[in-house]
Symmetry: D2
Subunit: 116 residues, 4 copies
């Protein structure tokens, strides 16, 4: 993976600027677009069982990769508009989750944190 | 940004393995978790107007960064489970969008592609 | 409105049975289908401002009505599968919200309950 | 079920008016609130398998009924703001689906319409 998140973010900003689309890219609107794309992702999985969802044919996998790209793209756009460093936020969240879900307490149990 | 997507993905896989959570991380389930997190992101923006969504106070921005981290984390987990290269998919999608939305045709107009 | 929720629910169950689709209609799957449909609803509103969202042309309004119908249909299906009375649940939730958001305390303020 | 959709809609409008919340209830914002609530519904089902999702204990079922109530409430609010008759739209959509998915063609097969 040679391209960095920063390069991707810059490219997406340029794409929006060239089309005069930044006026539509408020954080509110981008959160909606991001969520709409996750709906399209769900649509691919909704009638599959878990086992089937792990063994997709190539066409389906390709379509899903492009839906995931859309989600990723809007997430990176939103991070840029809010001046949030997505990678730093992810590592910060992992540190929080390490404390919230200690290995010895949650092993093999996926109940939500607040249910403990 | 020193850490790469690959390092993040490896760390998340280890987090799941240590907790014996990989059994829950079918692509179907991960798509649901990803979508549930986008719901939490929307919740932060739903009663703000677009202008307000661009000017968040520090507490709100911090909370939103952590919601975006959750989305990012599940997206990276899902990509790993499906053996999809997220960064490659994003650049592939940009190439598709370049053709679908030619600058001269869509400038300043955010209508969806299928409406043209 | 002459038809009742019960008649709608019965009709939807018959629709699924005729197609041998009840096997796909687990609560888990129906929650995904419901959520995927809300994504399609969001797509109609994501680039509109709030004012525009209140003044839709007839074609757009018709399309949105059918998306809302999809959401309604999956919600009624899910209620049937879980033996939940949707109308009773709604009135129960209103009673809860009456206590959670006392008029004198929240007037003109849409912040979420937990932020008080 | 003694209460009608119209009574529910009127009650919800009064709830919003008493709190001066109608200013926040643009169709755009309501679509976001509706979608955020479907995220909370997904959260209940994301780590369950299909079989488990059909056999919920009473506490979980009660919590899910209230999430579904939230979705229903925002859907009814949105219909009121857009002057859409939700029940009519549902029956109209059933008629469309009858043509789109003929019994003899789709029996036992849940693939999406566009895949035929």
């Amino acid at each position: 993976m040679s391209e960095s998140l920063q390069e991707l973010s810059d490219r997406l900003q340029r794409f929006a600027q060239e089309r005069d689309w930044e006026q539509f890219h408020s954080p509110k609107n981008l959160s909606m677009a991001l969520s709409a794309e996750t709906g399209e992702l769900l649509e691919h999985f909704q009638w599959l069982n878990e086992e089937q969802s792990q063994h997709l044919d190539d066409d389906k996998k390709e379509a899903i990769a492009l839906e995931m790209a859309d989600i990723f793209i809007y997430l990176v756009r939103l991070a840029e508009r809010l001046d949030i460093n997505l990678m730093d936020a992810a590592w910060q969240k992992i540190a929080i989750n390490e404390k919230r879900y200690p290995v010895e307490q949650v092993k093999g149990d996926a109940r939500r944190a607040e249910e403990y």
